[in-house]
Amino acid sequence: MTRVASRDDREPDAGERLADLLACASAGDNDAWRSIIDLYARRVFALAKSRCGDAVLAEEITQSVFATVASTLGTGGYSEQGKFEPWLFRITMNRVRDEARRAKRAGVSLESNVAPILAAPTPSRGLGPDILGKLRQGLGELSDADREVIELRHHAGLSFKEMTEILNEPLGTLLARHHRALKKLRNFLDAAGITSPIGHDESMEDSTGGGIES
């Protein structure tokens, strides 16, 4: 199984290891480049897929993002200063926005692609697929700004500090926006009549294991 380094499973020396990998990849080390792809490709894919709702388009975006990164690394245009992840996901967000603009010009809404994704069953650890499906629908109801925060946080697996560097917003603003987005989702679930299972699910209390950490 490919290892995906999200904020939940970072090692203490992950930063140093990443810096080494980037240095080796810049020097043409294919193994290092492969390791970087293993670490981040799925996170980039998940973010793109959540925004576009199309797995094929998400893979195209993922390849485009890594092509940009490869070109920049190969030409020595990037120097690691602990900001690789913000840079990587800023490229991803820009690609997603480009696709949204292109779709808009072509008269096609990316939201129409999202519908099947929203209805798709999601493997569940503690919540039923119906509740998670409703939550996906609720994501589609959020404003772009709120949705960006949620997806960068939960799909790309970024910390709030990293998100400040991508979105150029103060930490407090992002925390408030995240909290507001959660509240909107909660209201959406309330309106759908499924507040109680979430609010009183004891198994979820156990499986949560903590909330936001950066």
């Binding site: 799925r42 493997p123 997806e151 946080r153 799909h155 909290h179 609010g199 909330g211």
Partner: protein, 162 residues
């Protein structure tokens, strides 16, 4: 950073303000995890295949760009040098050339000039004789007026005309 740490304290563990929000967060984490796992199993291989060559090429491409830049600079330098040489040559030629150009007169040109001088002289003589005749005519007219004023015949003419 401190703010982030404070927020960790605020949200981490079971000390969060709202268990329902933490549940929703956890559910969102599940959705994100599911989307990451929904990627094709060959995603990494395909990304690697499509970018590996690009990573290797980028160094070569950069070298080529540099070489192209040097070549174009060299050509522009040569053209500038050629223009400078031509400008210096032109300035030197202007500096050493005679101030007034000499005109070589041929025998035919000299004969033509002599003919023109003769024509001009003849014309001036003709102009002089005409002027003399005009002066003479003017004097005769004046004399006639004075002579006729002293005679009575004008009165006779006036009487007969009545």
């Amino acid at each position: 950073m401190n703010n982030d740490s404070n927020n960790q304290l605020r949200f981490t563990g079971d000390s969060g303000p709202d268990p329902a929000d933490r549940m929703i967060e956890s559910a969102l984490d599940q959705i994100g995890q599911a989307d990451r796992l929904s990627a094709p199993s060959t995603l990494e291989s395909r990304v690697l295949a499509s970018t590996q060559a690009l990573l290797a090429k980028s160094g070569v491409a950069d070298d080529a760009r540099v070489i192209t830049r040097v070549r174009s600079f060299s050509w522009s330098l040569r053209i500038a040098a050629a223009i400078a040489v031509m400008a210096c040559g032109g300035a030197a030629w202007l500096a050493v050339r005679p101030a007034v150009p000499t005109v070589q007169s041929s025998p035919a040109m000299a004969a033509l000039e002599e003919d023109i001088d003769a024509i001009i002289t003849t014309a001036s003589f003709a102009d002089a004789s005409v002027a003399d005749e005009l002066d003479k005519l003017d004097a005769d007219t004046l004399n006639f007026g004075q002579t006729s004023a002293s005679q009575e015949w004008l009165d006779v003419i006036e009487e007969t005309s009545l």
